[in-house]
């Protein structure tokens, strides 16, 4: 059972989500303003937050930042169509994923599953004492700079390994071009999104992931490393 907090000022949508998610077996709490949402994160300890960007009191981006000050709970942002700039800002500000209104429950649930699963991996035994991360059949040994997929050792350059390790550390989260450049290439970078495109392309070849199922492209925004969802 997942504890989900829905923060949105639209009563109807909150109600639809509450009924839909409860029927799926989740425990749902709701908040209709940014301040209430932040308080609920502290009190209710949700496993996941669904956050609307347009709130009456606080900007959704601000809410996201304030939640990040004390909690690593995955945040999925609800945004309007075409609002790419705000999406990127939200992701840079700590949100894990976004979903564009209007959306179906199946899509929302898929996003919830990915976010919760990877979040658990991150906070739990994702990186064990030997410094190894496991994402599905992908294993990354941070100490020995070695990565295997399904037991096969991958020959990666140092930059490719850094990129893969970075995405793995944030598995399940949508990483924007800007974040990747800043953290993998260095603080002097930020606008050269074509570098990222070239390296993800090479990584996919080596990961045998030409369709981008493991290393997903989020068009116009960035990339997301997702272990293939277990069949359910």
């Amino acid at each position: 059972m997942t504890k989900v907090l829905v923060v949105d000022d639209d009563v109807a949508l909150v109600k639809a989500l509450r009924i839909g998610l409860t029927a799926r077996g989740d425990e749902v709490a709701t908040a209709q303003s940014g301040v209430e949402g932040i308080n609920q994160v502290a009190l209710f300890h949700p496993d996941l937050v669904i956050l609307d960007l347009g709130l009456p009191d606080l900007d959704g981006l601000e809410v996201c930042r304030r939640i990040r000050e004390f909690s690593d709970v995955p945040v999925i942002v609800l945004s309007a169509y075409g609002d790419e700039r705000r999406k990127v800002e939200a992701l840079d500000g700590g949100a894990d994923d976004f979903i564009t209104k209007p959306f179906g429950m199946a899509e929302l649930e898929a996003r919830l599953r990915v976010a919760v699963r990877h979040s658990a991996a991150r906070t739990g035994n994702g990186t064990d004492l030997s410094g190894t991360m496991t994402i599905g059949d992908l294993e990354i040994d941070l100490v020995h700079h070695m990565a295997t997929r399904g037991g096969t050792v991958l020959t990666l350059t140092s930059r490719e390994f850094d990129l893969l390790a970075y995405l793995a550390r944030y598995a399940g989260k949508v990483c924007t071009h800007h974040m990747i450049l800043k953290d993998v290439w260095g603080p002097g970078y930020g606008a050269e999104s074509n570098y990222v495109r070239v390296y993800t392309h090479r990584l996919r070849k080596k990961l045998n992931d030409d369709e981008g199922r493991l290393l997903r492209t989020v068009p116009g925004i960035g990339y997301q490393l997702v272990a293939d969802a277990p069949a359910d």
Binding site: A16, G20, A80
Partner: protein, 507 residues
């Protein structure tokens, strides 16, 4: 022609005055002829010459000099009555007189001409200054063109002045590409107008030249090597200096016209940018407003369709109700959008009928269809409130929009209070209606802005259309709408509507 006549008449007058003065001098001197020395009449005969020169110029002076010479010789140098002069000394006196007179006439004339020239230059400088003063002002192009032709008309006094500009014609069309943009003076006949535009079209190579009928002067206005227009003066008398003045004038005018055109262009560009930005905001707001109910409908429907979820009957009923309510909300939004286009296109017609407040409230509650239960609404109105004289469709929409906002912003079911009181004068009675909720309220700096089309209060919490439409409809009734700044909690929207004279609501 008139100016010419004036000049001739002036010269004739001056000559007549000079001759009369000569005659008078002769009449005064003649009786004392025997007592005077030979030189005295010569000095007296100088006076009319100077008068002639000063009043009528050199030739009037010269004529006076010749007369004076003859009078002196005939009447004062013996033998009297003939042109013959005997004594050598008398010869000398006569020659000295002639020389002195001519020199004086010449000098005075030159002084005169120099003074006239100075005065004329001063006037020119003054006119050019006035013109440049007018041209540097921040005035629109049509005003500027009027200014140019009026100044030309005053300074050069042609029969009429016309300013032609290239007309915006579809590319490839063959017609005259000049049109008269401004004119001054009288008697610009239709024929002349056609002759102007028909002969136009070639202002590129045209300098200051006479074109068409004689005494018509056309000057091309050229700025930055680009012809901007053509200045035409009909039947104008030109001195040589006037040509130069007109040329200077035309150059200044050309620069000013070009500048004004560029300014107009810049203004238009800025307006287009403004419209673009507004359109962007509108698309964003409309998209947001339509998507919000759509999002909950889609979420609810997809829950209902999903297999393997444990929805009980209560959940299903709730989801179905939600879908219905949100569909209504969508429909209202579409109505609002259509209303907005009616307002925008100016097709908003108010058809007032008499209606009590209660009925209006019922109508608007029906319009928001279950979003606000009747029991949540409290009406606070005096029993003698007059009937409202309103278009019930439009005003129902106003109240519905306000109720919808109130309901959406306080979802906890807190009461919504509709207040009403009679205001205005007995001849122009109005009723002030207010809708108060206990929601989060509107910040002071937002109170004006919420009525703007597509404004979004607090990141899209409020419909971008509802209040703007309410404002348009209320104003179409001659009323006004505002947010009460005096409430401590929640929002109180107040608007005024016309009421019936002397008809109480409950008889």
């Amino acid at each position: 022609m008139q100016a010419l006549n004036g000049t001739y008449r002036h010269a004739a007058l001056a000559i007549a005055a000079a001759l009369a003065a000569q005659g008078a001098a002769l009449a005064v001197l003649l009786p004392f002829r025997s007592h005077l020395s030979v030189a005295t009449p010569a000095l007296v005969f100088l006076i009319p010459v100077i008068i002639g020169v000063v009043v009528g110029g050199f030739w009037a002076g010269a004529l006076a000099a010749v007369t004076g010479f003859l009078f002196y010789d005939i009447f004062f140098l013996p033998p009297y009555g003939t042109l013959t002069v005997h004594a050598a000394s008398n010869w000398l006196a006569l020659v000295v007189y002639l020389v002195v007179v001519l020199v004086v006439a010449r000098v005075v004339t030159q002084l005169h001409t120099a003074r006239d020239e100075a005065r004329r230059r001063e006037q020119e400088a003054g006119r050019l200054f006035e013109l440049s003063q007018a041209l540097i002002g921040d005035i629109g192009i049509s005003e500027l063109l009027d200014h140019i032709v009026i100044t030309v008309q005053t300074v050069f006094a042609p029969r009429w002045t016309a300013l032609l500009l290239p007309a915006a014609l579809p590319a490839g069309s063959d017609g005259p590409d000049l049109r008269v943009a401004a004119r001054a003076g009288q008697g610009l006949t239709a024929d002349e107008l056609t002759s102007l535009t028909a002969s136009g079209g070639q202002i590129r190579s045209l300098g200051m030249d006479r074109t068409g009928p004689p005494s018509r002067v056309a000057v091309a206005l050229v700025a930055s090597n680009r012809p901007v227009g053509l200045l035409v003066l009909q039947e104008v008398q030109f001195a040589r200096q006037d040509r130069a003045l007109l040329g200077t004038f035309a150059n200044q005018a050309a620069l000013a016209v070009e500048r004004a055109q560029l300014r107009d262009q810049a203004l238009r560009t800025r307006l287009l940018e403004e419209i673009d930005r507004w359109r962007g905001a509108m698309m964003g707001a409309v998209s947001h407003d339509l998507r919000t109910p759509l999002a909950s409908v889609k979420a609810a429907v997809s829950s209902l369709r999903q297999e393997g979820t444990a929805l009980n009957d209560v959940d299903r009923a709730e989801l179905l109700e939600l879908i219905e309510l949100q569909s209504d909300r969508l429909a209202r939004l579409v109505t609002n959008l259509l209303d907005m286009t009616r307002i925008e296109s100016g097709a908003l017609a108010v058809r007032p009928t008499l209606m009590p407040l209660d009925e209006l409230v019922d109508e608007s509650l029906a319009a928001v269809n279950g979003l606000v239960p009747r029991r949540r609404v409290h009406i606070d109105a005096p029993p003698d409130l007059p009937l409202l004289e309103i278009d019930h469709v439009l005003m129902g929409q106003v109240l519905a929009n306000l109720l919808e906002n109130a309901a959406r912003l306080c979802p906890d079911g807190s009461p919504i209070c509709i207040g009403a009181q009679s205001i205005g004068t007995p001849t122009a009675p109005f009723v002030e209606i207010s809708v108060a909720d206990e929601g989060p309220g509107i910040a002071a700096e937002e109170r004006e802005r919420v009525f703007e089309m597509f404004s979004q209060n607090g990141g899209g919490a409020r419909s971008g259309l509802g209040l703007a439409i309410a404002k348009a409809f209320v104003e179409a009734h001659g009323g006004s709408i505002w947010i009460d700044p005096g409430v401590a909690r929640g929002t109180r929207v107040v608007f005024t509507v016309p009421a019936a004279t002397n008809v109480p609501q409950r008889v």
